[in-house]
């Protein structure tokens, strides 16, 4: 395995992140603060508790997931799309690296950035509300797995996209609504029965539910089911990436 190549890609991508550190850091802090002002203070003050948890604390896992999923996808998609766009992809294609190594470099960097943002949001949230983490190891595991799996998904979008519009299409039109409707700001038990059933078809529900379980020890769906969902999603992404690199889809003519 060409470990130096993986490191080179990883360091190169992280350097891009650190070049815009202020923007990378300030943006999630501001948006998280706004969410807490709107949902925590303004609306949350009228909601007593959700499943025994103060509403302000209840939305913390959902907010972290919202940012982490979006950041994982965006970073990974942009990471591989940009070399395609400006033509530097030739260097990856002509280097003695396997596609697996390329994926490790880009997805690893994108997941690291998202993880960093997730931690920033958790710290920001702790300034607004009191919350504790019931299962810290499970929380870290869920966070890392989510970062990795959605970075894989973002990588696929970056390969598929042929322009900047397409790059934004899936995150904006599909992923963000799925995350908002996946129980970020509410428990699905609060929905009418029909919508509860429909919501179960939203894969993000399982991630947010599992992640919330790691905080408060209670979940909308069984924790095993959440783990299976994330494993299945990761497996699907890996299969798609394997197929993309095997066929050279939109990378190699």
């Amino acid at each position: 395995m060409n470990l130096r190549a993986i490191r080179a890609i990883y360091v190169f991508e992280m350097a891009r992140f650190f070049r815009t550190l202020l923007q990378s850091f300030v943006s999630p802090v501001i948006s998280t603060s706004l969410y807490f002002v709107v949902f925590g203070a303004a609306i949350g003050s009228r909601i007593d508790e959700v499943e025994g948890v103060a509403y302000g604390a209840f939305i913390v896992p959902g907010l972290v997931m919202l940012s982490v999923i979006t950041q994982s996808i965006t970073n990974a998609a942009f990471g591989i799309y940009f070399p395609k766009f400006i033509g530097t992809i030739y260097e990856l294609l002509s280097a003695p690296v396997s596609f697996f190594e390329v994926v490790l470099g880009y997805v690893g960097a994108a997941a690291t950035k998202a993880l960093f943002i997730g931690v920033v949001i958790l710290v920001t949230a702790s300034l607004f509300v009191d919350f504790s983490i019931a299962h810290p190891l499970a929380m870290v595991a869920f966070l890392v797995l989510t970062c990795l799996s959605f970075a894989l998904f973002g990588f696929i979008i970056g390969i598929w996209a042929q322009n900047f519009e397409q790059l934004q299409l899936i995150p904006l039109l599909i992923v963000t609504p799925l995350v908002f409707l996946g129980g970020s700001f509410y428990s699905i038990s609060m929905l009418p029965p029909v919508w509860q059933t429909i919501t179960l078809f939203n894969p993000v529900v399982y991630l947010i539910s599992g992640f919330r379980w790691s905080f408060f020890g209670q979940a909308d769906v069984a924790i095993g089911l959440s783990l299976m969902a994330i494993a299945l999603f990761t497996a699907i992404c890996l299969t798609l990436i394997w197929a993309i690199f095997r066929t050279g889809y939109r990378i190699r003519s």
């Binding site: 130096r4 260097e91 990856l92 002509s94």
Partner: protein
Amino acid sequence: MPPIVEIDNLSKTYDDGFQALKGVTLAIEEGEILALLGPNGAGKTTLISALCGIVTPTGGSARVGGHDIAADYRAARSMIGLVPQEITLEPFEKVISTVRFSRGLFGKPRNDALIERILRQLSLWDKRRSPIKELSGGMKRRVLIAKALCHEPRVLFLDEPTAGVDVELRRDMWRVVEGLKESGVTIILTTHYIEEAEAIADRVAVILRGDILLVEKKETLMRQMGRKCLRIELAKPIGAVPAALADFGLELSADGCELSYTYDRQAERTGITRLLRALSDEGLALSDLQTAQSSLEEIFVDLVSDEAAA
């Protein structure tokens, strides 16, 4: 010694049915500079891209340093450096970072001394901390060369490396290429500038519509296919070529002071002695004689136009 690059019946047909390479077979010897000439769309870049792994061939095979470019791609690619035709660089990266990145991609450990030497050789050392977007076009092209050289390739593909650069930089690059050749690097150069091939190539391959038309040593090619021209300056102008000299196919200049005689230097008899005698018999006094050989460009144009007409 086996060729360092062996291309065997390599073909490429794109999804839209366009056949860019039609069974190219070519052997490139270690340490030589091969100029790959051809008009736009001839298949030069596709051939290089296929060897480097950017384009997947649809038929045939190729080996670099004895390693198959598909089955043993890691070993094959680690021997190759590529300078692409387009200037493709991340605009916000610093020069030294992008060069280090390239070396890392090829699995080589960090070597600051080597990178410094390459950047100094390419007059980029002073700009090493500059973002690429602040460099001139010529400097960006040098960065591409630095990136291709930083992993110490044994085979270097230069795809139109001097396109759009000024004469001074072009000559600088020729010096770099000659230096690389001296260090044993094999160089395959595609170019539109025939003078470039003429100045630095050892052998010339001409590609047209995905086929290699010929591969020949530059000097042999110029000797075999080059026409020579004898220019005869007359002491006094004449109004027309004398009838007795009609057989020689002479061309008279507009001012009547110069006669041009084109001949094949490979021919058994060039006709020069007979012509000079005939000029003397006609009483024409000569003030000077000059000979000029066809340039590679003229040979290339002749070849391509002959093939296109066929």
